[in-house]
């Protein structure tokens, strides 16, 4: 479980996050939603330690993460997998080498054991016969899946996804959502996903945190999101006409 308590973050004079308090439980897909510029990515990067926070607490189980030094954070980070918005695969490495990379860095396994693990992870995300391809030879959806394979290579306890559906067609986006959801259940991971894709919210939003102007505005799940009386949330969720029609039909 990851617990955030009274988190504040600013860049120079600009306050980005104000007094965020939330718990993310394992085995369910936790979503952070909000408009572009609302502070979702800063929150996610603060949780994983890519940004230093101004005040507040970030707890990984019973460890106060934000007070640890780089060496101490390494232990927690070895249990973290992260899927970036642009996949962040290493350009100079093949698909296989990308997935093998964390295994090379953090395990003493034999070459065969590592290869077996790489193939297992790639098969798990349905990447077949692409081991020797380079990232620029892959489609957007394949890149995301390879990035997921790399993220789960070390059996992480925590999975972070920053807008996993951005730039993908609706069908591929659903596949990626389903894959993350399945893996979360399979490994009982604490998964946190940043998204503004309403389909993800409706399909896999077992816990949803809505952020507006850097503040926690609403918290609930996919069943509650459609019937909320939080105006900023409704403005966000029912921004397009299709969503409005769905709500009207539901009512």
């Amino acid at each position: 479980m990851i617990s955030i308590k009274n988190l504040n973050k600013s860049f120079l004079d600009k306050t980005v996050l104000t007094d965020i308090t939330v718990d993310f439980k394992p085995g369910i897909t936790n979503l952070i939603i909000g408009q572009s510029g609302s502070g979702k990515t800063v929150l996610l990067k603060s949780i994983v330690g890519l940004h230093n926070i101004d005040s507040g607490e970030i707890w990984y189980e019973d460890t106060l993460f934000n007070k640890l030094n780089f060496a101490e954070k390494k232990r927690i980070r070895s249990e973290i997998g992260m899927l970036f918005q642009g996949s962040a695969l290493f350009d100079s490495l093949t698909v296989e080498q990308n997935v093998r990379f964390p295994l090379d860095m953090f395990t003493e396994n034999s070459y065969k054991e590592k290869t077996d693990r790489v193939n297992f992870c790639l098969n798990r995300v349905n990447i077949i016969n692409a081991n020797s391809l380079f990232p620029d030879e892959l489609s957007g959806g394949m890149k995301k899946r390879v990035a997921i394979a790399r993220a789960i290579a070390l059996n992480p306890k925590y999975l972070f996804c920053d807008e996993p559906n951005s730039g993908l067609d609706p069908l591929t986006a659903i596949l990626i959502d389903d894959l993350i959801h399945e893996l979360t259940k399979e490994y009982s991971m604490t998964t946190i996903i940043n998204t503004h894709d309403m389909n993800s919210v409706i399909e896999i939003g077992e816990k949803i945190l809505f952020i507006s102007d850097g503040r926690k505005c609403w918290e609930g799940n996919k069943n509650e999101v459609l019937n909320s009386d939080c105006k900023p949330l409704n403005d966000f969720v029912f921004a397009n006409s299709l969503a409005k029609k769905i709500k009207e039909a539901a009512n």
């Binding site: 890519l50 954070k73 232990r75 970036f84």
Partner: protein, 247 residues
């Protein structure tokens, strides 16, 4: 001034991060071997070509400017040798490498920064500065002296070819000239400068790439800055090192 001091402070903090204990020696070893190829071996061609023609032009220029019969002809060979050893193969070659290697390092690391590849390394608990930069520094510190020695040999060869083919000097005179009053310390001086310059090129360019923020436009700017700052520092340290080592 404050901006300069702030950048200098950031640079030294960056170096501290680069020289912290490596995560896994075997991975760093592989990475260093890879950098030997990408930063060292791929520079042999350009260094060879430029050295050959610089040696040739130094010989011809020296010959046309020492036509007075009181100067012995072998001075052309001596002039070619000393110009190449003292300045060309260390300083001018370093400026050329700042353009080739420096811009390549800055754009490679800068692209990794804007595409979040560096963040991905950090998330895995890897010291990204050390992982990306230390192998490059080690590779250039070890390989650039080899390039300098190669440049000296090819430069002198270029001088000999140009001198003898154009008829401004005989082969015997040129060979006598390059052996005349040879001071071996000049080679040491040249290699010491090369090591300093290699460090400047790699660390300054890596620093520029590592601290890119924004998009592809910024990557291009960081690449330009890497070449400009490396070149200025090389010329500045050339003066300082010459004063320290030859005075």
């Amino acid at each position: 001034m404050i901006r300069f001091l702030s950048q200098a402070g950031l640079y030294f903090l960056f170096l501290k991060k680069v020289f912290s204990k490596p995560e896994k020696a075997s991975v760093y070893y592989k990475q260093t071997m890879h950098e030997f190829v990408s930063l060292g071996l791929t520079s042999i061609g350009i260094i060879s070509i430029i050295s050959f023609f610089m040696g040739a032009v130094i010989t011809l220029q020296t010959a046309y400017n020492t036509e007075n019969p009181i100067y012995p002809k072998y001075l052309i060979g001596l002039g070619c040798r000393d110009s190449i050893i003292l300045e060309f193969s260390s300083t001018v070659a370093a400026l050329i490498l700042a353009g080739k290697v420096g811009s390549s390092i800055a754009s490679e690391i800068g692209t990794m920064r804007v595409t979040e590849q560096i963040d991905a390394l950090e998330i895995m608990g890897i010291n990204s500065a050390s992982y990306l930069v230390l192998p490059k520094i080690i590779a250039t510190l070890l390989f650039n002296p080899v390039l300098t020695m190669l440049s000296i040999c090819i430069g002198i060869l270029g001088g000999w070819v140009a001198g003898t083919l154009s008829g401004v000097i005989t082969s015997e005179n040129f060979i006598y000239g390059i052996q005349y009053a040879f001071i071996p310390y000049y080679i040491t001086y040249s290699l010491i400068k090369t090591v300093f310059f290699a460090f400047i090129i790699t660390s300054v360019s890596s620093f520029q790439g590592y601290h890119v923020s924004g998009g592809s436009l910024e990557v291009g700017r960081s690449s330009t800055k890497a070449v400009v700052y490396s070149s200025v520092l090389i010329l500045m340290f050339n003066v300082i090192l010459t004063q320290l080592l030859l005075s």
